[in-house]
């Protein structure tokens, strides 16, 4: 018997409203390296509404993962937040001491990483780790946690959950580990899940399983998701809103339908032209020429100008502001007219 029922979602954009669950303002992140300071994130703003699914897209080095990691206090050596706020449940995550942030992470904000090794302790059975999330967060007995963990594993299509409960992470396939990680992420019923390339390391059909599961479980619970991905097809099929990042800046932000129908920023258009279209497999892809900047200094011009076919003198001299061009659309480009400028 198949232990997992095929999931389907439709792309209906549920009427989102209400106070944001998470509100990030003016985030600046720097890394101290031997060769200087890397300006990884340079003033990022975005907000996440209840139940909303946000996709942060961009090439590697665009600062999309660093943005998520900085909010979780997981920047690692040499990384630090130098400015900005991240309002979550009335507190600023960026002002919290590490110990307090650790309890937010995994409890109030669930995390699903690409790198499976990061997510689990290799020396503890998988079920114990899922149950631990419940015990540490809620006043829930170990026995109840055990039962609840098995229920969650079943809900995530982990067959033979009772036996798998006692298995170690390395004994599970990549797909099963990723399911277990989702189980662990949703166990404490967080308001938001941060998903960093949640399906990238997986085989294609397993990617689809994990994506369908994650979508389904978050929609059912009304959990918001901030997903970092380089796969525009995946983002387009799951997200309510897209944030396009480049050189640690938001280049464009739009509600999904607007993003699909009226993408504006030359960088967004470049990403689309470089994306594979299964309906035209032999259409030559046009990779964006050149490379992402090394970010050894904070941008003092449009960071995309060196690779942009529209670039003019103004682009090389002034950083474009992220301006509203419609009710659900913001663009940072000197060549795109703002709402009040037309």
């Amino acid at each position: 018997m198949a232990d997992f029922v095929a999931e389907t979602i439709t792309g209906a954009n549920s009427g989102l409203s209400g106070q944001p669950v998470l509100d990030v303002r003016g985030l600046v992140v720097e890394f101290e390296r031997a060769d200087g300071t890397i300006h990884a994130v340079n003033g990022v703003d975005f907000a996440v509404c209840p139940g909303e699914w946000i996709g942060i897209i961009g090439e590697s080095g665009s600062g999309k993962s660093v943005t998520l990691m900085s909010l979780l206090g997981l920047l690692g050596d040499g990384g630090r937040v130098t400015r900005g706020h991240a309002w979550f449940e009335g507190t600023d995550l960026l002002q919290l001491p590490n110990r307090r942030l650790r309890s937010v992470r995994g409890n109030e904000i669930g995390v699903v990483f690409q790198n499976l090794a990061e997510g689990f302790n290799p020396y503890l059975p998988i079920g114990v780790q899922i149950a631990e999330t419940l015990v540490s967060h809620r006043l829930c007995t170990r026995r109840t946690a055990h039962r609840r963990a098995i229920e969650l594993m079943r809900e995530l299509g982990i067959g033979d959950a009772k036996a798998r409960f006692h298995q170690y992470p390395h004994e599970l396939s990549g797909g099963m580990r990723q399911r277990a990680m989702i189980a662990s992420a949703v166990a404490s019923e967080p308001k938001v899940i941060f998903a960093d390339e949640p399906t990238t390391a997986l085989d294609s059909t397993v990617q689809m399983q994990v994506l369908a599961l994650l979508t389904d479980i978050c929609r059912k619970r009304g959990t918001s998701v901030v997903m970092v991905t380089h796969d525009l097809g995946v983002a387009a099929h799951t997200c309510d809103r897209i944030v396009v990042m480049y050189a640690g800046m938001v280049m464009e932000e739009a509600a999904i339908d607007e993003f699909l129908q009226h993408p504006m920023h030359p960088y967004t258009l470049g990403l689309r032209a470089a994306s594979f279209d299964p309906d035209q497999p032999d259409r030559p892809l046009r990779p964006i020429p050149g490379y992402a900047p090394a970010l050894l200094e904070a941008p003092h011009s449009c960071p995309f100008a060196p690779r942009c076919h529209l670039a003019t003198a103004r682009c090389r001299e002034h950083v474009p502001a992220l301006r509203r061009i419609g009710p659900a659309h913001r663009v940072a480009c000197h060549h795109v007219q703002g709402e009040n400028e037309t």
């Binding site: 198949a2 232990d3 997992f4 029922v5 095929a6 999931e7 389907t8 979602i9 439709t10 792309g11 209906a12 954009n13 090439e59 590697s60 067959g159 396939s173 990549g174 797909g175 099963m176 085989d203 294609s204 059909t205 397993v206 990617q207 689809m208 399983q209 994506l211 369908a212 599961l213 979508t215 380089h230 796969d231 525009l232 097809g233 995946v234 387009a236 099929h237 799951t238 999904i256 339908d257 699909l260 129908q261 689309r272 470089a274 994306s275 594979f276 279209d277 299964p278 309906d279 497999p281 032999d282 030559p284 892809l285 990779p287 964006i288 490379y291 992402a292």
Partner: protein, 317 residues
């Protein structure tokens, strides 16, 4: 009229003994590539596609079956004879960093196959290396650099330059872009396509990454649990594959829809791939197939033509 294919694999079988158990890696795989044509070999981890590639170039000896290059049998040849045949066929692996000699300059790495065959002297070799590096999109001056000084993408380009040094007609590429950053992947695929056109190069392009395969392959073969379950034109495969497994596999490549209403349903295949130590009876896919019937459990479907050079191993297709 029949033109003898460049590469022709017939009924390849290969199993390995792992911890006392028999692992069935490749089961009765036949495929052929004609000159100037490229075949994509796709499938998920453990499907046996890499083993097919290693058998094709002679790095792994099949248990049975034949591998012919220009009609000449490769199986059972000595290393020395194989090396002769490798003038026509070269391999590019995923991990370029490990395949390059760390203490040789990039240029010396590139011409190594020629030096090994005593085909060039130093001065001539240096010039050839510079030309090859330029052809793969590197600065010729990087010939003087050492591999560790290059990025992963640049190292992979050096590997390709080295493979091209003997002017092969066929490149066997095993996950050549999978270890690279996504934007670098696109640039690398651009290079592969350019070489295909400019040099009339053929590829056996092995990858789990369907978008890269789509860009290079004229035909695509889909492997599942050591078997080829479907072969056909790349266009047909992406548009409307016949085999239920291929359907699930290709549906996992999500397009960018024109608007929200054009978004596809996310349909996932149930269950996990069975263990290659303990293969299912009948059709290897019947345990997860949404349309399987009784016959699928008992009888293994042969790969059979369904028109237009397309072949499918499914009782119901």
């Amino acid at each position: 009229m029949s033109v003898s294919p460049l590469l022709d694999l017939r009924h390849i079988e290969k199993s390995f003994r792992v911890r006392g158990k028999q692992l069935f890696a490749v089961r009765d795989v036949s495929l052929s590539i004609r000159k100037g044509e490229s075949l994509g070999l796709v499938g998920e981890s453990g499907s046996g596609k890499s083993t097919v590639g290693r058998c094709a170039i002679g790095l792994t000896a099949p248990d049975s079956g034949s591998v012919r290059l220009f009609g000449e049998e490769l199986v059972g040849r000595s290393r020395r004879e194989l090396r002769q045949m490798w003038q026509h066929m070269q391999m590019v692996f995923q991990d370029a960093g490990a395949a390059l000699h760390p203490r040789m300059t990039v240029g010396r790495n590139v011409i190594d196959p020629l030096v090994a065959r005593r085909l060039v002297d130093g001065r001539e070799g240096r010039e050839i290396a510079r030309q090859l590096l330029e052809q793969v999109g590197l600065n010729p001056d990087q010939a003087e650099a050492y591999p560790f000084e290059l990025s992963g993408g640049q190292q992979q380009r050096v590997m390709i330059a080295r493979a091209l040094a003997v002017e092969p007609q066929l490149l066997i590429c095993d996950e050549p872009v999978s270890a690279l950053d996504v934007s670098v992947q696109a640039q690398m695929m651009e290079l592969f396509v350019k070489l295909k056109q400019k040099r009339n190069l053929s590829y056996l392009f092995i990858s789990h990454n369907l978008p890269s395969v789509g860009q290079i392959a004229d035909h695509i073969a889909v492997m599942y649990l050591g078997e080829i379950v479907e072969v056909g034109s790349a266009h047909q495969m992406f548009r409307a594959p016949y085999h239920p497994y291929s359907q699930a596999l290709f549906a996992s490549v999500l397009p960018i829809p024109a608007n929200v209403d054009a978004r596809r349903e996310l349909r996932a295949l149930p269950g996990e791939i069975p263990s290659p130590f303990d293969l299912p009876s009948g059709c290897p896919f019947h345990t997860r197939c949404p349309v399987a019937v009784g016959r699928c459990r008992d009888v293994r479907p042969p790969l059979r033509p369904v028109g237009d050079g397309h072949q499918v191993a499914c009782h119901l297709a």
